[in-house]
Point group: C2
Chain length 349, copies 2
DNA sequence: AGCGTTGCAGCAAGCGCTTTCTACATACGG
DNA sequence: CCGTATGTAGAAAGCGCTTGCTGCAACGCT
């Protein structure tokens, strides 16, 4: 069998209670005793039984991070930053925390399942990253679950997701609408009047907000939008490639393509090039997020930088109770327009 | 307080044992009873206490995935594939499994810490991805820990990591040496004789194996290597950029640059371009891994495709006991040379 | 009819830890 | 020198669940 607390206690000639106290360091233990215990732990190669400990103490050191797509650096960067803040010595006990990232793959069911699983494990905190799914039933179910978690003492932080009022969750929202608007205004400012838009999957808050920002910019400048100029797709390169070909088919006179994110924008660039169009001379392209590879594209991508790392770090600190929650439990994180080579003045028609 | 099994039992007018059996579905329960129990569970909004369950059953539904850098798609893609195989209905109980990814950030300490934490949680399985660190002390510590895990019944699978004999771990190794050799032979075949090499961090198996493959190719063709032609760096774009400038400074007559991976190669491309050199007319560039963005580079990257998704999926299945382990517990996964636009015949000197 | 099966439910003993409460020195104040 | 702090260790009662075993009907067999 595996070594238990009692075995260690026997070896160190003390009671199990004392061993527990040495290990947790939350009760005075004479130095000589402590040493004896530590020696026994070492000799027996003892490993604490997590479940037993969690059960007895009614707490756990698990922290969950939910992401929509772990293969997407957008989430990887946030997850990495969150984890970095959590991994270290945590709150009071200085104990190690197990920060785990759970990949929902964008599926509502899996999102809910993971939340239940984390609830089962009595997670200390949960960070939900990225946009939410805009299905009423699912949103209700999520809000209910989140409320239960917070009521049970689990800290819940939303990072890059709209606030969920009345649930007790802290929200660090990205200003996707503002960023989207700024980006499109930049293109309009260059002289573009015929702009295609490749949106993300429908029913996602991120998709909707970025698109709303785009439309707001058009409205401000009195540009009437042609429904043919908007195509929906996934948040990946391939989708951007296909959507761009579709856009070109529908209206070859477009002078700019705005993409839902940088991966999509890269796909758009490829499609344009394959169609014999130059960037930005024939068509300008813009992305969103400013992922690391965006600056490497040729030409480098005009986009909106989202401070993914900073936001993640902050979310992690809040989750660990190491930083004050923003007033009202809600903070908006702004993006920054990065003007680069992929956008330029339109060709004269 | 939270709802317990006993509460549900009371409400359904049965014993706690029966409720447990309904929930686990591993013991015959009359249909009528089952329904009554399920109804009570639903009405009370009962959530199983994970730690208690794990303690009593002496098992857990946790599966750990260790990655070196979660922000790097190389690991994201593997993790995603592994998780996809694990997330679904698992082994006997059809129960959900909590697949969690742990980001070590390449730090030996964190790697060990996570393993201990997973050991504490009595994880059902652990998948270690990516190259290992070649420090004797650390390797010994890791092997010991892994052996303990496997002895305790945790299935350990190495995905893209060299085998660890005598530890009971199953290994799915990438043939980095073979891939590296093939890649360099391709360049030599084009006529290159002066090849720079940007290696990854020292003390990593992946770095060493790829470099060995490269050198083997040089040796086969009787090319003597100049020590100035090799530079070490990190596995990221920035490192590739800087290393390339350094390489150019040391020997401007190089006609090809082989990078440790695709991100590094992209950085190399940027540095070459910024130095006024054309790819591949002046200098050819090659990467490794064939990450999704590599085909988007301009020109698209010649590289070695590693079947990250397939390997991950297989590792996941083995971890879940859903696929037979390879004979001897070791399998080598080969890469495939992808010749694309970034490599061409060298300029005549 | 008698007896071994079979199907379903309950009892109760833990799983390995934490923590309250108690116990006992030793130290201190008067 | 006694009563009361003070510091340290142990006894034991759970935490909420699982599961081996027992119990008891209803059933089928000879």
């Amino acid at each position: 069998m595996t070594v238990t607390l009692a075995d260690v206690a026997a070896r160190a000639q003390v009671s199990p209670a004392t061993v527990s106290r040495v290990l947790n360091g939350n009760y005075p233990v004479a130095a000589s005793t402590r040493e004896r215990v530590l020696k026994a732990v070492d000799e027996l190669d003892y490993v604490l039984n997590g479940p037993a400990s969690a059960l007895a103490a009614a707490t756990s050191d698990l922290v969950g991070i939910l992401v929509n797509d772990i293969a997407d650096p957008f989430f990887g960067i946030m997850a990495s930053a969150i984890q970095a803040e959590i991994g270290g010595p945590g709150g009071r006990a200085g104990g190690e925390r197990l920060a785990v990232v759970c990949n929902t793959g964008g599926s509502p069911e899996r999102e809910l399942t993971y939340l239940t699983l984390l609830q089962r494990q009595r997670a200390a905190a949960v960070v939900l990253t990225g946009g939410a799914i805009e299905d009423t039933a699912h949103k209700t179910a999520m809000d209910t679950k989140v409320r239960k978690l917070t009521e049970a003492g689990t800290r819940v932080v939303l990072c890059g997701r709209p606030p969920a009022p009345e649930t007790g969750a802290i929200a660090l929202t990205f200003d996707n609408r503002g960023g989207g608007q700024e980006l499109t205004e930049h293109l309009i400012g260059l002289g573009h009047r015929r702009l295609g838009y490749i949106a993300g999957p429908e029913e996602r808050t991120t998709t909707r907000h970025r698109l709303e920002g785009h439309r707001a910019a058009l409205a401000v400048h009195g540009i009437e939008e042609d429904p043919r100029w908007t195509v929906h797709g996934r948040y990946d390169r391939r989708s951007g490639y296909e959507a761009t070909l579709e856009l070109l088919r529908r209206d070859p006179s477009l002078t700019a393509v705005v993409a839902a994110n940088d991966s999509v924008a890269l796909g758009a660039c490829a499609a344009l090039r394959d169609s014999g169009l130059r960037i930005p001379e024939d068509v300008s392209v813009a992305g969103f997020d400013d992922l690391p590879f965006s600056i490497d594209a040729v030409p480098s991508l005009t986009t909106v930088r989202l401070p993914l790392g900073e936001a993640g770090a902050r979310a992690g600190r809040i989750a660990m109770g190491r930083e004050e929650a923003p007033p009202g439990g809600i903070a908006s994180v702004r993006g920054e327009l990065m003007v680069r080579g992929s956008s330029g003045v339109p060709r004269v028609s």
